[in-house]
């Protein structure tokens, strides 16, 4: 189990802090505080209870304490929950499906069927893909960007879909927070809809519906613990990553590739596993264009283009999409050109290193005291020996309207919870294979469905007892630095 979580291949991820300082802030019953340098807790002592909400509110670690993530959202917790009389529903992300399909060497559609079969066997009533939630997030994100564009809001707006990145910003770069988009992620939106529809359909209270999500990333567990604006029941009860799903399957002694299972018609299977009122059910597992993190950057440009054509009489064939490379594969820009002039842009930034450079560029007062005069003169003198300046354009996401930011290098397809490369395969090739699987998932062009999606989401909000804000928006705030003297006493790392 611990090998499953070993962090040795997490190079360039935003890693969690070494030790947690939180226990000393929470009143605790006995001498179980475990806070010193790398000490191993004695097994007889129960570890201090730290909830994910504690992690969110504490500045001790950069993202989260892995142990806590796992303790609260483990497959063991799920097995325990399954013994209760709740109604169980699940949603599965695209990247997790790709990872599992790759690991079990099956097509994604086959994987979907096998997974649905397995989850049903375990007692799950409804299982859906996160496509509906993602498409609504994409539409909301793009529309809010188009609105900003009309308001001439100064960019860039930064995506908040990646919970690792968001938490890092909240804890270490609070000046970034006003730039974060408040559009909820597919996990949360899917969860809200799935819980509401299930509750309504089966006539059970909402809090009796237990929602499992399968996500590429451990930090999605943290996202699920963020408080809702109305303080009500959460939309997600347990988040498992593909790695943990594998552990779960192994522990239960199941075989995912069940011998007794005969593959059915995939769309039929999708339809039968979703709640009756699930909209666009034939597309419940469908994919989107753009990056393998969801395509937020691309979709914004696509929908903006469509908006200009339909509302502002722009000529359709005068548009061009241009991709400008950055200094590495995890940083690039997409530009929407109209009659050879740039009219909108999205940046893609993956991995801690690239995030670093972006946040430093966006820091107010970033420029140093008095470099300019000096620099100009330096340049003059160095001319003779200077190597040829790079003349080609290089991506600069800090100047874009919108930046899609993911904490993991290569984005969500390479999430921290995805299954590690098989023996003898290097990581890079493994990621490429994962991308291939991801790309094999059939697309449903969100641009052609904007009006239908909006129409449906409005009626959904109307019929629910929730506000639009509750369903589709989230909020972020600075995590205050701990300054308490007792913290220094017990938890200070030096």
């Amino acid at each position: 189990m611990s090998a499953l979580l070993s962090a040795d291949d997490l190079n360039d991820f935003i890693s969690p802090g070494v030790a947690c300082i939180k226990p000393i802030e929470t009143p605790s019953k006995s001498n179980e505080l475990e806070i010193e340098i790398d000490a191993k807790p004695k097994s007889v002592l129960a570890p201090a209870q730290i909830s994910l909400a504690d992690c969110l509110a504490c500045s001790g670690c950069i993202t989260s304490a892995e142990e806590v993530l796992v303790a609260q959202h483990s497959h063991k917790e799920l097995l325990k929950a399954l013994e209760t009389d709740k109604v169980f529903v699940a949603s599965v992300s695209h990247q997790a499906r790709a990872s599992l399909a790759l690991a079990y060497n099956v097509d994604v559609e086959q994987l979907d069927q096998l997974l649905i079969h397995l989850l049903k066997k375990m007692g799950f009533r409804y299982i859906v893909g996160t496509s509906l939630g993602r498409k609504l997030s994409l539409v909301n994100e793009s529309n809010s960007m188009i609105q900003r564009k009309m308001d001439k809001t100064e960019g860039p707006t930064l995506s908040s879909i990646c919970p690792g990145w968001v938490l890092y910003a909240e804890k270490t770069h609070p000046y970034i927070i006003p730039r974060l988009s408040n559009v909820k992620s597919p996990q949360q939106v899917t969860g809200c809809i799935l819980k509401n529809l299930t509750s309504e359909e089966l006539n059970v209270p909402r809090n009796q519906v237990y929602h499992l999500t399968i996500m590429p990333c451990f930090d999605k567990k943290l996202e699920s613990a963020r408080p809702e604006v109305d303080g009500g029941t959460s939309d997600v009860d347990c988040v498992l990553t593909p790695r943990e799903v594998v552990a779960l399957i192994e522990e239960m002694g199941y075989d995912l590739i069940a011998k007794d299972y005969t593959f059915g018609n995939t769309s039929q299977v999708y339809k039968e596993s979703a709640p009756n009122k699930w909209p666009f059910v034939e597309y419940a597992w469908s994919n989107d264009s753009g990056s393998a993190s969801g395509g937020y950057g691309y979709t914004y440009l696509r929908l903006y283009q469509q908006y200009l054509i339909s509302k502002e009489n722009y000529i359709a064939d005068q548009f061009e999409f241009k991709v400008v490379k950055g200094r590495n594969a995890d940083i690039y820009e997409m530009r929407l050109m109209y009659q050879d002039t740039q009219i909108a842009s999205s940046g893609i930034v993956n991995g801690f290193k690239n995030i670093q450079n972006l946040v430093r560029k966006l820091k107010p007062g970033n420029t140093v005291a008095k470099p300019n005069a000096l620099l100009a003169r330096r340049r003059g003198r160095g001319g003779s020996t200077a190597k040829a300046k790079k003349t080609s354009e290089e991506a600069d996401p800090s100047k874009c309207d919108y930046v899609e930011i993911m904490a993991c290098p290569s984005g969500c397809i390479n999430g921290g919870g995805q299954i590690s490369p098989a023996e003898g395969i290097v990581e890079k090739d493994w990621i490429a294979l994962g991308l291939e699987k991801y790309g094999s998932i059939g697309k449903w062009d969100v641009a052609e469905q904007v009006d239908r999606l909006i129409e449906w989401s409005n009626s959904f909000v109307e019929q629910s007892s929730m506000t639009y804000k509750r369903v589709f928006e989230t909020k972020f705030s600075e995590v205050e630095k701990v300054t308490d003297a007792n913290v220094a006493m017990f938890g200070a790392k030096w």
Partner: protein
């Protein structure tokens, strides 16, 4: 503050603590240490004018009054425990028998083995830091203090030992205001 980590420590009475048998106020030892520190500082500041160190300068005046374990004990046994209104001497965290002094030509090594009050004591590094700071501030420059957790008394001996004897980590900790505030409180009871 919450409940202390070690709620019921064993406490020694003041009378039980080891004392120097000879006459003389407890102040004299610290004073002499301070005196040495000052003379040392003066000595070093003169270096600018002198082109070469003379070896006599370095080890001349300390022969007649070497610092002994009792003196080290007196310096650190009065440090307060961060959790209890008691000193490290009273809690037997520091013991006279666990202080060792090794003298060589130029340097004097002090090896102190501390006994945290409970094996699980997460405060061991903080207490150790307090002792380290106290000795750095009080002893002349020729001393090298090695602080060790007494064998078997702590579950993460080697990690704690390593951190406490890392010069750079200790120096950086001394620039951490929050930590120094706590340390100052611990040292406030020292004479």
């Amino acid at each position: 503050m919450e409940e202390p980590i070690n709620a019921n420590p064993t406490i020694l009475s003041l009378a039980q603590l080891p004392k120097r048998q000879e006459t003389g106020s407890p102040f004299s030892t610290t004073l002499s240490a301070n005196h040495k520190l000052i003379s040392n500082a003066l000595k070093l500041s003169l270096l600018e004018e002198e082109d070469e160190y003379s070896e006599e300068d370095i080890d001349s005046d300390e022969e007649e009054d070497p610092i002994d374990p009792q003196e080290i004990f007196d310096l650190i046994s009065t440090i307060s425990d961060p959790e209890h209104p008691l000193t490290l001497g009273q809690l037997a965290v520091v013991n006279l028998n666990d202080i060792e002094i090794n003298t060589s030509k130029y340097l004097t090594e002090v090896v102190i083995r501390i006994t945290p009050t409970i094996t699980h004591c997460s405060l061991a590094t903080l207490i150790g830091l307090g002792i380290k700071v106290r000795l750095i501030r009080s002893l002349p420059g020729k001393f090298r203090v090695k602080l060790l957790i007494k064998e078997g008394s702590h579950q993460s001996e080697s990690q704690v030992n390593k951190q406490l004897n890392d010069k750079e980590r200790v120096a950086a900790a001394c620039e951490n205001e929050q930590l120094i505030e706590v340390i100052s409180r611990m040292l406030a009871t020292c004479v």
